[in-house]
């Protein structure tokens, strides 16, 4: 009987553990692939939603939003150097900037954008620098 209660408790704890989103850097290979996928999808949606709040744009009036969305889709197909603009932005996000001249040229304005999104990032001076 005691063994049965303990097994049930362990099973409940395992279920609760499985519901938690994975920690950054946590190994998740031994989790159910479907559960793992849904954890990550939730993480993606929550991150995207919070990022939109940080960026602080509601896109304006609904009619304007539709127009802007259509314009952004058209712009993604626009040629930019040897690729499309949408393709180059994806490359920039993947950190594949070496050898892509256009992206290297962006770095200064990229830094400006980062400072706009995180204006307080330079204050406080917290944390330790890696030695040598």
């Amino acid at each position: 009987m005691t063994e049965e209660i303990r097994t049930k408790k362990e099973s409940e704890e395992k279920k609760a553990e499985d519901k938690k989103s994975p920690e950054i850097g946590e190994k998740t290979e031994d989790r159910n692939p479907d559960d793992k996928r849904s954890w990550f999808m939730e993480h993606v949606e929550a991150t995207a939603s919070r990022a939109q709040e940080i960026l602080g744009s509601d896109g304006g009036a609904p009619e304007g939003q539709e127009k802007k969305k259509e314009a952004s889709q058209a712009m993604s197909t626009m040629g930019f150097g040897t690729a499309t603009l949408g393709g180059l932005i994806a490359l920039a996000f993947a950190g594949m900037v070496l050898g892509v001249q256009k992206l290297n040229a962006w770095s200064k304005s990229f830094e400006t954008g980062v400072k706009l999104a995180y204006p307080g990032g330079g204050k406080g001076g917290g944390g330790k620098k890696e030695k040598g």
């Binding site: 993606v44 929550a46 990022a51 314009a71 058209a74 712009m75 932005i89 954008g113 406080g124």
Partner: protein, 124 residues
């Protein structure tokens, strides 16, 4: 001055280091938001959504810089089925700082995504 000290307790906390700008610029956003171990389709979906956010931010930025008549022309050209040469010509003639806008918005969105993931982490 270092603008990435906010990453200290996030991505590189185990190495006890601060991410420098160049490192942040070249880092894969997938790793920065904790999706390195995610299935490929989830990573692709995230990248597509992030790229779309940048494109919409670029449109907002351009929208705020153009006067009414140019704005009308912009939305007339940049729509479904737009011709590449028409878009290129409009950008060249009316938005001389286009590359700066693209760089700025890409950086702004990347930083916002990382910051969002960092904020959500304690609740995970």
């Amino acid at each position: 001055m270092n603008y990435f000290s906010f990453l200290n307790f996030f991505f590189f906390r185990r190495r006890e280091t601060i991410m420098e700008f160049e490192e942040f610029f070249k880092a894969n956003v997938i790793d920065l938001v904790g999706l390195s171990d995610a299935p490929e389709d989830v990573k692709q979906s995230f990248l597509q959504s992030a790229s779309q956010t940048v494109l919409e931010a670029i449109i907002d930025h351009i929208d705020s810089e153009l006067d009414e008549s140019k704005k009308e022309e912009f939305y007339r050209i940049f729509r479904t089925g737009a011709q590449d040469e028409d878009m290129q010509a409009f950008i060249k003639a009316n938005i001389p700082n286009f590359e700066e806008i693209v760089g700025e918005e890409t950086g702004r969105v990347k930083a916002a995504l990382v910051k969002a993931a960092q904020e959500l982490k304690p609740a995970a």
